[in-house]
């Protein structure tokens, strides 16, 4: 098995694990972490595409690699925004539940 196929399979497994965590965990920060796993799995598959596209004297295709770097930074920005929203949800509602039935005080969150 060559390293790039192996990395691709790891990427696929990470997507599966992350997807499961995203569905199964009730805590939004855990969901966010799981979502980051999905993201890095997708990046890894992209990295395999880059590795396979070795040409023109490079051991890799620089275009997908450059886009993965951009992707990692954008994914971080999205995570940071999600964290801010989760914390705001906690301040407003008194808990971090995403279940509308579970939270009684959600509606008066604006009145601070």
């Amino acid at each position: 098995m060559n390293p790039s196929l192996l990395a691709g399979l790891v990427g696929a497994a990470l997507v599966g694990l992350g997807l499961y965590g995203l569905i199964a965990h009730p805590h939004p920060l855990r969901k966010l972490l799981a979502f980051n796993l999905v993201g890095s799995g997708v990046f890894l598959v992209f990295g395999v595409v880059a590795r396979r596209g070795a040409a023109a004297g490079y051991a890799f295709d620089p275009v997908p690699q450059a886009m993965v770097i951009t992707g990692i930074v954008v994914a971080f920005a999205a995570s940071a925004l999600a964290v801010a929203l989760i914390l705001r949800l906690a301040v407003a509602g008194g808990d971090v539940s995403l279940d509308p039935q579970a939270s009684g005080r959600r509606d008066d969150g604006e009145a601070e």
């Binding site: 790891v10 694990l17 930074v73 801010a84 808990d95 971090v96």
Partner: protein, 317 residues
């Protein structure tokens, strides 16, 4: 010769095991620690894929800065005593979710295993870009980021700016303009303070180095900027520095300097070299380094501000 494939398989199993641990761990803190370890291991996988630039980015942003973001978020949630998160799905739903996730992973694995040969590649175009408009750059990835796909990179800087604005706007209305809450409420331990005092200047030096060599070797504006950001965050965690007020003019200038300089040079290319983001021949490398220097500044300021979160109105500067 035959050890390397075994190491690869071991590394692959380890990455998947640590990822499974971050999903399975009982509490948030353990899960975040697992995620940081996962980020570092993933960086090794990137090295094996001949992608040292991505490895550096993954280790700094994917592991380090995201780890600090999540640990800080967990501590702030604890301080709010907002721990109730509702019940998880029942066993039946979990089994269905697991089966569906396995199906998706299996389908993706099948696609990866049946990728076409010969693989399509944009490497020749990138090589042309590195030789042409990005002349003088030895690192093809920097050439792609700044020259061949300059537009993407510029828009990505604007995404960072939008994320910072989004986070700031989540804060309470009367807190606008004040500083974000400190990363740690408690008085830090002496060991943490000493670590920050020694590590931060050295890390800043290494960050500048990674940016500077990025033109010709693995490294570049993102990686250097992320390292500088991490060092600023270390100093903030040791309470040696506090996050600036979000109304500060210097902060805002630093945040917009990256995209602003990028856009200005791009527009100047329209006039001087015939097309948007074209660099005049002979000036490509100095111009690219000039743009990247401001990108470093923007990244180094934007990432810690995102971790610090919205203005909180309590902490007086």
């Amino acid at each position: 010769m035959s050890v390397l494939p075994l190491l690869d398989i071991g590394l692959a199993l380890l990455v998947v095991a640590v990822a499974a641990w971050t999903i399975a761990a009982r509490n948030l803190f353990a899960s975040v620690l697992g995620y940081v370890a996962y980020g570092l291991l993933l960086a090794l996988v990137w090295v094996r894929l001949h992608a040292p630039d991505i490895a550096l980015t993954e280790a700094a942003v994917g592991g380090g800065v995201t780890g600090v973001l999540l640990v800080t978020a967990g501590k702030r949630l604890d301080a709010l005593k907002a721990t109730r998160s509702g019940a998880g799905p029942g066993l039946r739903e979990r089994i269905v979710a697991g089966a569906l996730s396995a199906l998706v992973a299996g389908a993706l694995a099948f696609v990866v295993a049946s990728l076409p040969t010969p693989a399509p590649s944009l490497a020749p175009q990138a090589a042309a870009a590195a030789a042409g408009p990005g002349a003088g750059l030895g690192n093809p990835i920097t050439a792609v980021l700044i020259s061949y796909r300059a537009f993407d990179t510029m828009l990505e800087k604007i995404v960072l700016l939008l994320a910072v604005l989004g986070i700031w706007s989540v804060g309470a209305d009367d807190a606008w303009g004040s500083a974000p809450a400190p990363l740690r409420r408690a008085r830090p331990d002496g060991a943490m303070v000493l670590l920050a005092r020694i590590l931060a200047p050295i890390g800043a030096l290494i960050g500048v180095h990674i940016f500077w060599v990025g033109a010709d070797a693995p490294g570049g504006a993102f990686q250097g900027g992320a390292l500088l950001a991490a060092m600023w965050m270390v100093a903030m965690m040791a309470r040696l520095l506090e996050a600036p007020r979000i109304g500060s003019r210097a902060l805002r200038l630093a945040l917009i300097s990256g995209p602003a300089v990028f856009l200005t040079v791009g527009l100047a290319g329209n006039i001087l070299a015939g097309s948007f983001f074209a660099f005049p021949p002979g000036f490509a490398k100095p111009l690219i380094l000039f743009i990247e220097a401001f990108m470093v500044l923007s990244v180094a300021v934007a990432l810690p501000m995102m971790v610090a979160g919205p203005p909180d109105g309590e902490s007086k500067p």
